[in-house]
Subunit: 431 residues, 2 copies
Amino acid sequence: MVPHLTTALNGPLLSLEKSMLDAMPKIEHWFRSQWLEYSSPFYASVDLRNSGFKLAPVDTNLFPGGFNNLNPDFLPLSVQAAMIAVEKVCPEAHRLLIIPENHTRNTYYLRNVVELVNIMKQAGLDVRVGSISPEITEPTKLETHDGHTLLLEPVVRVGNRIKLINAELGDFDSCAILLNNDLSAGIPAILENLEQNLIPPLHAGWSTRRKSQHFAAYNRVASEFSALLGIDEWLLNPYFDTCGEIDFHARTGEECLALKVEELLAKIKIKYAQYGVTQEPFVIVKADAGTYGMGIMTVKSPDDVRDLNRKARNKMSVVKEGLQVSEVIIQEGVYTFESINDAVAEPVVYMMDHFVIGGFYRVHTGRGIDENLNAPGSQFVPLAFEKPCTTPDCAGAPDAAPNRFYAYGVVARLALLAAAIELQEQDPLNQ
Amino acid sequence: MVPHLTTALNGPLLSLEKSMLDAMPKIEHWFRSQWLEYSSPFYASVDLRNSGFKLAPVDTNLFPGGFNNLNPDFLPLSVQAAMIAVEKVCPEAHRLLIIPENHTRNTYYLRNVVELVNIMKQAGLDVRVGSISPEITEPTKLETHDGHTLLLEPVVRVGNRIKLINAELGDFDSCAILLNNDLSAGIPAILENLEQNLIPPLHAGWSTRRKSQHFAAYNRVASEFSALLGIDEWLLNPYFDTCGEIDFHARTGEECLALKVEELLAKIKIKYAQYGVTQEPFVIVKADAGTYGMGIMTVKSPDDVRDLNRKARNKMSVVKEGLQVSEVIIQEGVYTFESINDAVAEPVVYMMDHFVIGGFYRVHTGRGIDENLNAPGSQFVPLAFEKPCTTPDCAGAPDAAPNRFYAYGVVARLALLAAAIELQEQDPLNQ
């Protein structure tokens, strides 16, 4: 089940994983106490990068869109976690309305929605899918690439509620609404001031969220966790900084960006020297709000951001839904040293409530070890869960596939916890 | 994964399963509301009988001893459920002491303990196994039939706590103690008045529990659930009655028993006529407190209990640990119409917290369809979980293996809920 992985297994990562395995009861106890204090997001996926010397989250998505890439053998685990999530967030719900993204032509994304519907149905809810896309004006059956059918029904606003109105299937009014739409285009009026329970809340969308706020919360989480384990926080945490008010077209803010890039590269160089890492440091510059691997570039020198040509500036200035980028985050780049059949790979971990339910490798043949892999052309290989030990003592080397997945799950849950803190702090009710 | 099953698929069971599948959102919603009201036992296993016209629980075990029989592919599901159970019962725990049964020569039972340790370790606890058997006076390594090693350490009482004292491994004092010992021999003094958290509580042991109390609670659960579904409660619920103060040796109480048997058989006959069942009704007479399939007999006529020979009386009068039987329960017998390779089979469903984590078929070549299968010579075949649908519409016949397992899970959870009610009512703190 676990694909063959080539990973640089020298240096601190082995010892990092070993410390996690040794400290498992301590780690799980710490997580339990954290989850008594913070409410987990309903679901999330975390992109990790494993450089052999460092294992760190680089992106946390609160509207995961790849449920179809999870190992189908572990569906019951997703269903069980979904039952827990529902018990916590909306135990009184009979029905669930799922609102997906508007890009209804991406048949792989539609397959994700089919799988999400399947999980929530098996968790015992009556589920229908309501679209807020202006293109969906009547119940519309769409086909996925692999022959599944998804019925999208137009969402109708009636007072402070949204519902589905359908003479054939009957109307559908649910007390709980699950968003699988990251609101990159802003909060649509139809979703504002609803009396229904929106999961996750509107402020989890990219119209409100900032990566820099997430990683500021992650700084605190990683700091506390590293102290617990007695390890260097940097092994889990990429440096970052921000630049506000950049206009790539008008070329304003470029100097600020170049300066921050220079500072960050210098900080990384010191750490690389400390750990004997011989690679060239790099940073990733990306939109502070946004998703889908647009508006992202790999930078190895401050000059890289000073000499942007028109094409690069165009690429950087727009993310999903045509939004202009004005705030960027500069994040320490983490090389990926994992590869599958010579293609670079990065793990993506899926969680529901605060449980790891699976994950997959994002694999990209056309990209380098210092590039973002969440881009067109990605392929996906399911990550396996721990298999039961067949040896009496259960002792495996820390780099064995099952154990590596434990470390992945730990780091992903640290990012999840940061998202929980971020959501609590950004909650309009708390401000 | 699902073994080939021959099942009588005519009559009301099909329609019963169909109503459960149709009402799945309603059922899960109902369970959610019940679990807001009652605390689930930490773990449980439920023996079911599927007669083709009836699907009912016949025994609910609060100290399950067959974790080794679960499908190892679904270990992550047990681990996840264990994490939830720990969060609810003892979130502050770092360590867990497991106290197994004293019969340390049953290598299959020991294998169950190994698996339970494995689950709880993977749920993130520091786990050790402490024995209260007088035979274990020093740390003792035992081997299972399949080469696993289990270290049993003698439990030591210090004030109002129990702990392990071990110069080599270090002492072990845990705030939580998991019992996998059903206390058939009574509550040992070493476990009385502990300040530590005993899971499940002492009154879940057979020294306090009565099957008749469990099934009295199940009457109420089945009644409410059947009303919800609009079905005849009898399809899920075996009739039962009790006789107190029986002495099989002195032959006192035999008339009461014969009378109750006669009444029960008459009631079953009416139901059989109503549903067109042509089999001969039978009842099972068993000890009201106890386990392990001792002290059990199949009875088809009141005369069967009047003319007991010495051998049958000996067999009936003693259960595990040599305890005398004085209270018996008379329970409607449910034919098993499931078989695997011509051997009769009955499903056993495992739960942790209120989640179904797996199950297996207990298979017995030497027994009839009207006999108890929890007896020496049983074999075990893992039950499979639902596999993801490969067809677009996910519609299977209700008798398809995955769907049947849903119905098994529902009925098992009804019994679990009855156990929760029973434990709450029998809690010394509530009396």
